[in-house]
């Protein structure tokens, strides 16, 4: 099956108009020695029906959260995605448009992203948001790059309670950016503001996560203050679905707020595509990475929207650009806007409260030792399961339940710990089942 349209008669007429006798002749500028003299070694073409059958067979080899009761989180969350999001994203105009370089053709998507930027600023308490970044890890590297240029400093400080993958991505980018990365260890599951203050001296920025990777609530205002005391940019990595109940980073002095948008309107999809968000105080508007949509007027004075502040960008500034980003995650960000418009402020608060309530219920029902008993948690919490984490996961999965993420993968001394996540999609009955399965596994 192909998606081509030309008939044999079309081809003939076209070759004649060009003045060549064959399609091969069109490639005469490619040296003969570089032309592939055999067909590509690929499997034969499939019809549409065969394609669906083949991909369905592959999909059936996976055990998704729709087949297994799952308490996995650790950065990707199984929140409910309303039908409205699927329906709107299936509109071909949104799906099949390119970047809105020609604004008169693209007012719909431009206005949508302007509204997305507004919603992100409202959630985070910031003044300016870009049109999205790749995901929750790369926006952290982006924030470091902004901070380096704003402060002229070359050290970045990461709380150890920041998602390990986010830290890994920052470390990958750091050598090219000319940055040194320093990590601050956690104390009983959270970051100590005094240690953070010391590390922040001479730093371009500090990044902490709220709620942190363990699900614990950090003393975020104190961490931001510690950064501000050292004149380092305070960067908060936040869960958008916590921001109906938790304070906005802008309200406690952060310079930049970043995060992973997946939980707000995107499916799990094995890790992508999703959207990362990056919002900042007004001061940094001309250092922002990526696309930004701005309001303007047309020749009649009517309101309209365009890509703006483009003199920051690679296509104008080339080697002097603030970033090389071109493609972003517009469609996924649009899904985020649609989801948050469905949710509304009340819905956002209710989802946050529901997750927290279920989390507290789960901690109690499981009756296992919390790793960080002193801390308040949001929708995730760490527990000791008395045996090696991966063994418990294997045994529980044999009983149809995925109990959570093995923290020993990333942290020393936590080989017997699991990170359990409850979203509003896990009912109290689901949690009771997890408790029963973990009890069974412990007894086995």
């Amino acid at each position: 099956m192909t998606y081509l349209a030309l008939t044999d008669a079309d081809r003939e007429a076209m070759l004649e108009a060009i003045g060549v006798s064959s399609v091969d002749e069109l490639f005469r500028d490619i040296p003969k020695s570089l032309r592939l003299d055999r067909p590509l070694d690929l499997e034969p073409a499939l019809s549409e029906q065969e394609l669906v059958e083949h991909l369905s067979a592959l999909a059936a080899k996976n055990v998704s959260v729709s087949r297994e009761l799952s308490f996995l989180g650790a950065g990707m969350y199984d929140h409910y995605v309303p039908a409205l999001v699927d329906a709107m994203l299936a509109r071909g105009e949104f799906l099949t448009a390119y970047t809105p370089y020609q604004p008169e053709m693209s007012q719909g998507v431009l206005q949508g992203i302007f509204e997305y930027q507004t919603v992100i600023c409202e959630l985070t308490g910031m003044d300016v948001s870009n049109a999205s970044g790749y995901d929750g890890t790369t926006v952290a590297a982006d924030a470091c790059y902004v901070a380096k240029h704003v402060t002229g400093r070359t050290k970045v400080v990461l709380a150890e309670t920041l998602n390990p993958q986010t830290r890994q991505v920052v470390k990958t980018y750091a050598p090219g950016f000319g940055l040194e990365v320093v990590e601050v260890p956690h104390r009983d599951g959270v970051t100590d503001p005094d240690e953070f203050r010391q590390a922040a001296a001479d730093a371009a920025c500090v990044i902490f996560q709220q709620p942190n990777f363990f699900g614990c609530l950090e003393p975020a205002p104190e961490l931001a203050a510690a950064a501000n005391d050292a004149e380092a940019l305070a960067v908060a990595h936040v869960d958008p679905l916590s921001l109906g109940v938790l304070e906005a980073p802008g309200a406690y002095g952060c310079a930049i707020a970043i995060g992973e948008g997946q939980g707000a309107g995107n499916y799990l999809s094995y890790g992508g595509p999703h959207y990362g968000f990056l919002a900042a105080r007004q001061d940094f508007i001309r250092r922002m990475p990526g696309r930004i949509i701005g309001e303007t007027t047309d020749l009649d004075g009517e309101r309209g929207f365009v890509l703006t502040l483009q003199t920051r960008e690679q296509h104008i500034r080339r080697e002097k650009a603030t970033h090389n980003m071109t493609t972003n995650q517009t469609l996924l960000a649009l899904a985020g806007l649609i989801y948050l418009s469905w949710l509304g402020p009340q819905g956002l608060r209710e989802v946050g409260e529901t997750c927290m309530g279920l989390g507290a219920y789960a901690k109690e029902q499981l009756g296992l030792q919390p790793v960080f008993p002193e801390q308040t948690t949001f929708k995730e919490f760490a527990i000791r399961v008395g045996q090696n984490g991966p063994d418990v996961i294997r045994a529980a999965r044999e009983r149809g339940v995925h109990p959570g993420y093995a923290l020993g993968r990333d942290y020393e001394g936590l080989d017997d710990a699991l990170l359990v996540c409850v979203t509003e999609k896990r009912s109290p009955a689901d949690i009771d089942r997890l408790a029963a399965v973990l009890e069974e596994v412990a007894a086995a």
Binding site: V65, Q102, E115, P273, L299, T376
Partner: protein
Amino acid sequence: MKLIFEKSQPGRRASSIPAYDVPKADVPEALRRERAPRLPELSEPEVVRHFTALADRTFGVDTGFYPLGSCTMKHNPRVNERVVMLPGFRDLHPHQEEEGSQGTLELMWRLQEILAEVAGLDAVSLQPAAGSQGELTGLMLMRAYFADRGEGEQRTTVITADTAHGTNPASVTMSGYQLKKVETDERGNLDLDDLRAKVDESTAGLMLTNPSTLGLFDEHIEEVAEIFHDAGALLYYDGANLNAVCGISRPGDMGFDIIHYNLHKTFSQPHGGGGPGGGPVAVRDTLEPFLPVPAVVREGDVLRLDYDRPKSIGKVRGFCGPFGVFVRSYAFIRAYGPGLRAMSEVAVLNANYMLARLRDVYELPFDRLCMHEFVLSGRQLKREHGVSALDVAKRLMDYGFHPPTIYFPLIVPEALMIEPTETEPKETLDAFVEAMRSIAREAAKDPALVKDSPHSRPVRRLDEVKAAKRAIVKFGFEEHPDLSGRPAEGEALEAQKGA
């Protein structure tokens, strides 16, 4: 049209959340949210109508012809949207154990094998989220490769062409390299003399698009590769124009050591108004140890994720990359099979046909057959009638077409860069050609008609200077500024639009 916030009514809502019988948990006061975010408050039917109206004001490939050069706006098959929504893909958690994600790992492994074959290279990482991230990844691979050979300090420079996409020089800077630019010769190839003078022991590599952004295949690519390899440097292939050569000529055979693919161009991931995309990289075996982790590997019938790569540059993105993009691109490729060659052949045929039918009306800066796209100059219209490439682009909207890329590449004045792709019927190509010819006539007879266009869109030309000066980048709620004054003074921004 109103913004969604202007339709909002306090107390209205679309959502319903399950009400479980569990006690409420308290947020410590110091961390509790004080003022609720002003999210929209609408009923579900209102939300549906709002986004339907936004879709109505957006133009996609589904709406009509979209010959945006270098962006490869081909048809996005609907079956790909169906398979990406299979619950086994859509609802799979990325931390699921390997035993529970064999289907996903197999799909990624198969896609890696296919991409390696198309590029003629040895190993693939699917992780980068977009072409520009693929570029950064490729440059990080260069850095790691030279550091490993003890040449890290010595190799400080990366060379790009003067026709390069803006991402190339931006990526060079972001990855900590110095930039050198090489000029284009009178045939549209890299200027070999200029190149020889700029390549030395400090050169880490070349970044090149081939065919170039002029839509021309570099006739001396073998010599170019030799110059770099003789100097111990590497060649990086910007895959933005790979749609011209699938199954016809392979970057690895041309001498390139690293390539990124744009899955949202060549392999039909819908671009969603700006993203998502996918920017996998492929490398020669000498560079494989440095690829991002985890690698997807096959051991007998079992697939797994390999993190044990001590020389790896690390991670450039979360998890294994944008998996949903892989599903669509894999499905697209499997529909063609080895017929991918026909895809590229028709893309090149379509472009040459349009070029043949337009070259007597618009100037052709390099008189050669083109590959999958071509660049015309509107210089003559500008000089004789004061009608710019921007005016031609805006007028095309009135004929129902999305404009081509304009003002790029930078070395062609009043550039119009046209890429039809392979999926358009001849009738559409003819209609676009007729529109371009008609606009050239209008420019001579009634230039004001062209300069005032578009006349058929929801808005007239928008004031980009005012947007940049005022920088209103979010809704102001109660403090909304009045922008209704006269359009800002100053030259219109002749920024490139597209590519």
